[in-house]
Symmetry: C2
Subunit: 203 residues, 2 copies
């Protein structure tokens, strides 16, 4: 309790500023938004990058279907309206994570340009860095991988509205970086993202 | 790039574990859920605690009406259904923050016991520490403060369903800590929370 008085002075000066948070976390909070087809490698690259950042003493967290669809967005289905709301909520949550000083790494197919652009706009309004990462694995390669058998089911008509089969994937037009995950290893992709973060002064 | 190989080894071992995250952040992620009447002092105490934690090199972030109602929950109103959904979403988001290793400090009136208990349950399912903090300022004192003139409007019938006036506040029955903000300073309240976090081995 010896530093009580000093603390008193500190928090009477006002809110925590972005500079104070940057000092506290040792990095600039930011969002990396990985978009691409199912089985393109988004989550694998995201988790590899998370581990690389943690191994370097940086702070990162992944948002993906596993921790969003069964929690925050469990009351959303796959209608056009629900898909848009799904991405809208994720955009708002990852903005909060980035505002807190985290490197927030998102892995969602997010097939529609307008939804991704909205997420970008939410960040711009708050001056929070946003990096759109196009995980550009071609459809034939993603379909060959098909680790969960989803493409097979979509081709058989057992799943409707599947991105790349009977629902469009709108390619990013101004992604900050493109990862050709069919031509490079997971580690190479993750290192490319790490280099981008370093070059941009984020970490 | 000299540590590339070591990184490679690291991320092939599996996902980031809670222990790895605790080491990385230098603290155990947790949620502090401040509940109480409007003008009870929730946000003021929350922000004081956030600053105290940051001044000590810890990592904390506040969720409150300012960054939730205008963003994630801007499509929710004040119907019974929307109020429940408001708190449900906040419970899920603060759980993610706590899972990321942050001390996530929430300030919401959250008047209904069932909604707060649901937020607690979401944390328990994931073994993430959750502290219910009852900011127990009596109604007459909160109404005397009335910094935004909301109680006055509620008494005049200009605001309907206002907690404490014509909508109930259900007091916590098993809060981890009670703050009598009408009898102690903001700093004393924040220090009481800091001591609890230290005693519980969170920071």
């Amino acid at each position: 309790m010896a530093d009580q008085v000093a603390t008193n002075i500190t928090w009477h000066e006002g809110d925590v500023t972005p500079e104070m948070r940057k000092d506290n976390m040792g990095q600039q909070g930011a969002t990396l938004w990985l978009t691409g087809l199912s089985a393109s490698g988004k989550s694998t690259v995201a988790m590899a990058l998370e581990k690389m950042l943690l191994a370097r003493g940086r702070h990162a967290y992944c948002l993906d279907g596993d921790n969003i669809r069964h929690g925050l967005n469990k009351n959303l289905g796959f209608s056009a309206e629900d898909r848009a709301e799904n991405i809208r909520r994720i955009g708002e949550v990852t903005k909060l994570f980035a505002d807190s000083g985290m490197i927030s790494i998102n892995s969602f197919i997010s097939p529609y340009r307008v939804d991704r652009d909205n997420a970008r706009a939410v960040h711009a309004e708050s001056n929070i860095p946003f990096f759109e990462v196009y995980v550009a694995c071609p459809l034939d390669e993603a379909e060959k991988r098909d680790p969960k058998g989803l493409y097979k089911k979509a081709r058989a008509g057992e799943i409707k509205g599947f991105t790349g089969i009977d629902d469009p994937y709108e390619e990013p037009e101004s992604a900050e970086i493109v990862l050709n995950t069919h031509e490079q290893t997971v580690e190479e992709s993750a290192l490319a993202l790490l280099k981008m973060l370093e070059d941009q002064g984020i970490v």
